[in-house]
Subunit: 176 residues, 4 copies
């Protein structure tokens, strides 16, 4: 069996290490009262994992701070480049939900890595938000799945090749 | 290969279904001002998964409402009985953190199920809490892991046979 | 002494009654993920006073749903008209902070009413927000002050005739 | 008219200064997971006024950390002593709600001060809490009322001599 498939449950004695890349999206939107503007701010995943008192080592790297609707093919190529060059094999990417499937598809075929994309419908700064839950789900999944690329949203693991965002239901779903 | 090991990533066309059992613990503690008392209340996992707008079917069943320090062998046997009888193969159990390892060990060997225990150090009702993140991590893990029993706390998947709660660090860790 | 000045502390045996008018502003901004837009939504003061379990009767009326920077003289005249016509003598107005002073000045001279304007720098929907505190401060002040028009922001009571918003400090202050 | 009664609305050119005394109560209850205990912790009023970005100078002094049901006559005498000795004339006291009326009555007759007692039914650390709103209401009231002692709870100003806590309704009310 190919080396890259033996990735389920690793209760290893080595310290668990995850790499986070952030690209922007609703999850990182903050309110700037002085500008009466609501914009992508600093990566919220850091706050979330600090409050969660996580038992793994991690590194967070911001690649972009964009609404995913504003992402270009060049942006997706940049994300692919950074992910490919990353030594760590367990990767979580926070991303806007509108174009998350597109970036997921652009990451197909990167060998020997488990890559999970997630984001949120409500900013992490809100009192009622799916951000913490979604980042948690992505983290639980990334250390449990076999190598490959996945979207984890709405508490479910999806294959980007067969997934879409259903805007009316505010939900991801499998394409039939 | 044994039937029960083929459980990694199921991007099935069938609807995903999870079963939640709740036993109490800090995650469900609420404040009763009239009594000046802080007690285990109704299961908070329901609130968490509603806010998360989950894309799976689920059923939540309350087995106990206890501080895990108050759980007895009879309680653990009851949990094992309910889990074994449950038709659904993906199970998340919310539980007090103090005795989570003990219950995890009491569930060893139940065939053809992926069972994840989680809880939280701060009640789900608090403004700053690990509850949503932990439930998310448990949900991401349970649909990704092979059959067996696991603890998912502090953003990490643990084997109950080789895990303990480190009280000073407020964290779960592998026993060396 | 004129009738309208005898308004301090009314521990009356009659039920306390307050009227709330809402005009929009940051306090009511909500996030519409489908539109990737952050707009003035439904009045948040209702949520705040429900959670506060208030011991007074109240009525909430939405006059506008605008960013205060978009308010016109016609809008301010409408607010004055509604306030003047209102039978209740204790009035709280939630309002955008940018032009709160202007509306305060436009309400000068309305007889036999205590009118307090407030709002917030962070939307009421955020996890960290000044909304609940500010609405509370406005409510505590409106039943304690003599008749007249006031701004209550940053935990302080201001006279709109001698107040400005300091944008750098994100704070209201007296004009010297 | 006595000097001490001319205390309504002070839009003074001098900086506004408030003194906070804390005595414990539900408002300051925090959860200690290591002890599975929910106890009075450090004063929460500091967090509340920091997040509110208040425009006044303040000093916070902890007198006690007790459930008000555990307060004795000696405790109330200590509170009266500290309040009397305090140079600042605007005082807010955070206190357990069960015995707030008793302490209010024990502070009767202290000259030349406006003293407001408040607290909350749900701890300040909870996601849904009346703490911020109540502290705001107390702050709005203390700078607006004439000298004397008051309870500000449930968004209303009460005279401690004629008030009680209605436990069923979780609410303060005037005694008829």
């Amino acid at each position: 069996m190919p080396i890259e498939s033996a990735q389920s449950f690793r209760a290893s004695s080595a310290m668990l290490r995850l790499k986070f890349f952030t690209t922007g999206g609703t999850i990182d939107k903050v309110y700037f009262d002085a500008k009466s503007e609501f914009e992508v701010g600093s990566p919220q995943v850091l706050e979330v994992i600090r409050e969660a008192n996580v038992a793994f080592e991690y590194d967070i790297e911001s690649i972009l701070r964009k609404d995913s609707l504003d992402m270009t093919d060049a942006d997706r190529a940049l994300v692919r480049e950074r992910v490919t060059a990353e030594p760590c094999s367990l990767i979580v990417i926070t991303h806007g939900t509108d174009m998350m499937v597109q970036t997921g598809r652009a990451l197909a075929g990167i060998p020997r890595k488990t890559i999970v994309l997630t984001g949120s419908m409500q900013p992490a700064r809100f009192r009622v938000t799916d951000a913490g839950f979604n980042i948690g789900a992505a983290i639980g999944a990334v250390q449990s799945l076999e190598h490959g690329v996945y979207i984890v949203m709405n508490g479910r693991v999806f294959d980007p090749q067969r997934t879409r965002k259903n805007i009316e239901k505010n939900c991801f779903e499998e394409e039939v």
